[in-house]
Symmetry: C2
């Protein structure tokens, strides 16, 4: 069964919330409680969770630990993904330091940059290669996922080199440049610029409607 993207996104948030609730005191939680904490309607929460069979108890709610495991199973992958981080500037470093990157779901196997100060070094225990070596290193390490944190102008060049490895399956991009990829390679983008502009736009619209 196919799960829609907005649903997956919410499942991930439920899961994260449930993990933090496991340390708490109550072992049961209702759809309304979950919804309130995440700013989601209770009916939406129930619909999302009902996709996978009946796991809540009417009149009671969901068992925190059981629900958490259940979602974990849905989200879990049969393998640990090998990942390359391309671009070890401020942003790349911030990502490396981010708790997200201590995950059992993937492993950052290699870093890539062009800065001679970084190439050849080990940064946070991971070797940094020159971007020109990416195809070879990706092949040797079976790296299927690339996290792209380079300046916009270099994005396409870097990706083209990664494509030539023939092992690339997914890209998470932090640059705002549009990137051309072969069909079949999954692409997700975190676009700071767009989010910021959206915020400012709707702030403006709101003020305009008031006055």
């Amino acid at each position: 069964m196919r799960i829609a993207e907005p649903t997956v996104e919410r499942l991930i948030k439920y899961h994260r919330l449930l993990i933090s609730m496991k340390q708490g005191n109550s072992s049961v939680v209702s759809s309304r409680q979950i919804g309130d904490m995440l700013g989601i309607k209770a009916s939406q929460v129930r619909k999302d969770l009902s996709y996978f069979g009946e796991i809540g108890k009417p009149g009671v709610g969901y068992h925190v630990e059981r629900l958490c495991e259940h979602i974990e199973q849905i989200l879990s992958s049969p393998k640990v993904w090998s990942v390359a981080l391309v671009g070890v500037g401020n942003l790349g470093m911030a990502l490396m330091g981010h708790s997200v990157f201590q995950s059992y779901k993937f492993e950052v196997k290699a870093l890539f940059d062009v800065d001679p100060e970084k190439v050849g070094q080990n940064i946070m225990n991971i070797h940094c290669w020159h971007i020109d070596d990416i195809a070879r290193v990706m092949k040797e390490n079976d790296i299927e996922v690339v996290i792209l944190a380079v300046p916009a102008v270099e994005a396409q060049t870097c990706i083209d080199k990664a494509i030539s490895s023939n092992t690339l399956k997914g890209v998470l991009s932090f640059t705002q440049a549009p990137v051309i990829l072969p069909k079949g390679v999954l692409f997700y983008a975190v676009d700071v610029f767009v989010e910021l502009e959206k915020l400012l736009f709707f702030l403006k619209e709101k003020e305009r409607n008031i006055s």
Copy 2:
């Protein structure tokens, strides 16, 4: 007229693309060309652009410069927003260095942190205050927008302090913690964790469907 969020998001991307096209050679562009470059259907592009009257020429396309100005007008704000950056760690610094932050639409008026190494310093020419001073500094500088780049556990505390300034109107959050805000304060979140998990989830699903 109200413009839907997905439309705004695309308008922002069109605008960004058009700016880079202005340096190029062709002064006219078709909906198909725009769409291909951004991975959007041509019909979608036309629908988006037709919301604001007829600005394209049948058989020819859209005049790059005129279209760019047109969208700029839609997106533009009558004022420059005053912004505070809360959290000057790796991520905060990455954001500061990001080209996005050299915008004429807003100005970063103050930084906030708890690290005694940073508090009291000027960082990239902007003064860094202790987070406890945020309400006062926000009031004094009419800061209405907060960019939140602190660890998850501190997110709510920081936001609560910002709320008490009574000038807060919008938040762009980079932490993965859910944050409680008064109704009326706009909230956008960039959630690295969620994007990464989504990518891995759909990668897994894809492999599962093949085998």
